[in-house]
Amino acid sequence: MSGFSTFLAKEFTEIRKTWRIFVVPGMLLFFAITSPIIADVTPALMASIAKSQPGVVVKMPPPTWRDSYAQFLKSLSQMVLIAVVITGAGAVSGERSSGTAVLTLTKPVSRRSFILAKIVSQAGLLIGATVVSTAVCVVLTVVIFGPSPVGPLMASVSIWAIDALLMIVVMTLFSAAFAARGASAGAGLGFFFLTLLISIWPPANRYTFVGLMSASGKALMQQPTGVLWPVATALGAGVLCAWGAVWVFEKQEL
């Protein structure tokens, strides 16, 4: 086993043996289970609220598979992305502050391998958890709402996953650049909210990765997504951030 594969194997074992297994995968699974249920009960809840308010009439169409998927996608694009930011904040800075980076990097492991293994392990965890939770969401949606198409959810979750993977690489860069986990988390949240803000501007939404979120929603609605530019710029930004994380980490003294 090379240094990279040994360190990567350590990362996956660490995910399995520590709290990390419960955060992003746990949240994804939670939302996969609750989204169809929430979609199913929301009209009844709204009606009961309306009943207690004299003069208020709430008319909602019966819920469908699309409501279930939309609920799941909404949770992914808000709560899960924030969880990705929080957990990714300590990816490098945590190892640096605990001294474990020194343990590994005084062996035949390059700093580039260290950073790339961090990115690959987090990406692997996210992709695996997303596949499982999407399958769970589809099964529950079929159980509650009857036969439901899988294609729209797969397309929208795939576009969301590109956004989440970019966030992992951005957080690895911040975690390599800042000494404290809190500082990298703050920078990550700042980046997250800034991209939301910029996405309001139509040209940015159309031609940069900030448009991935709305493209994901459009895919669910089976509308044209115009996803080419957002995906291409996300890939470019991801490569640039990964290179930046390696560069910053190689310059540092431990």
Binding site: M1, S2, G3, T6, F7, A9, K10, E14, K17, T18, S98, G99, T100, A101, V102, L103, T104, L105, T106, K107, P108, V109, S110, E253, L254
Partner: protein
């Protein structure tokens, strides 16, 4: 083994902003030696070790391990060294065996050979059979685990930063015996501020103070240098007059009185041994003892550091 030094440090300088951590140190550590890197806290020992392991970069100068420049050689050098930091950081969710096996795999050691080697190193470190996670081990146990993991690749150069600082007397003795047993096979370079450890196992020592090497010699030579310039006299009576008399002598460098005992620092031991009995008799005192005292490494260390600071 060739005659080239295992570690060669040339005019090594390290600045942290305005602070000078290393101020042009020069060292050559022979292969197979146990080399003590001695100095008070803050002398620059850990900084030098961090440069040797590639964790930090020098401001100027160079450091070589087995002929390769540590700042450019990368994995080639790291594959041949073992390193124990002063405060070792381990993954708390691993067991001791998992940790040693993990470090072994980083060196590319085959899985079949690795288990046996890891178990024997843990046995040597007194940690065999311990199933507790590393997070639950005491500091001393972690230190011993650190030594075990540093030896997993059978390193040609073993770099130890304060390896005995967190150990109880038995653990310390065991570690020192283990270090001594490596002499001739592995070059051991260990930093410490515990003089007794250096005297016990090292055959060479460098004393570092404020980023400068103030002494660098084989232990035996350093002790030989220290042994000849101190004389202890025990007299029968008040030595005040005697002190007044002998402090005029040109070979006297320092006088220290403890009751009826006088300790003299001398530049010419033969003159001191010849003239002192007569001076004692002239002062009307009886001579109970007159001997050349061997200055300890501690005396030497304190003297060198004080001198450098002045």
């Amino acid at each position: 083994m060739t005659d080239a030094p295992a570690i060669e440090i040339t005019r090594l300088v390290k600045h942290f902003g305005d602070a000078v951590a290393l101020d042009g140190i020069e060292l050559a550590v022979p292969q197979g030696s146990v080399f003590g890197f001695l100095g008070p806290n803050g002398a620059g020992k850990t900084t030098a070790l961090r440069i040797l392991t590639g964790l930090a970069r020098p401001t100027a100068g160079a450091a070589r391990i087995l002929g390769s420049d540590v700042s450019t050689a990368g994995n080639d050098v790291r594959a041949q060294i073992g390193y124990l930091p002063d405060v070792p950081g381990f993954y708390p969710w691993m067991t001791a065996l998992e940790l040693v096996e993990y470090t072994g795999r980083l060196f590319g050691i085959e899985r079949r050979a690795l288990r046996g080697r890891a178990e024997s190193l843990l046995e040597m470190a007194g940690l065999s059979g311990i199933r507790t996670k590393v997070g639950g081990l005491s500091r001393g146990m972690k230190q011993r685990l650190g030594i075990a993991q540093a030896l997993i690749n059978g390193p040609k150069v073993l770099l130890l930063d304060e390896p005995t600082s967190a150990l109880d007397p038995i653990g310390r003795r065991d570690v020192l015996e283990m270090i001594a047993s490596l002499r001739g096979r592995t070059t051991v370079f260990f930093s410490t501020h515990i003089l007794a450890d250096v005297e016990r196992v090292c055959n060479m020592v460098a004393i570092l103070d404020r980023g400068r090497v103030v002494a660098n010699a084989p232990i035996a030579e350093l002790k030989r240098r220290a042994a000849v310039d101190r004389v202890v006299i025990d007299v029968d009576g008040d030595p005040t007059m005697l002190i007044g008399e002998i402090e005029k002598r040109s070979w006297v460098r320092s006088i220290e009185r403890m009751g009826e005992q006088i300790q003299l620092g001398v530049t010419d031991l033969k003159s001191a041994q010849r003239e002192l009995p007569a001076a004692i008799a002239a002062a009307g005192l009886g001579l109970k003892r007159l001997e050349g005292a061997e200055k300890s490494l501690e005396d030497m260390f304190v003297e060198l550091v004080r001198h450098a600071q002045q």
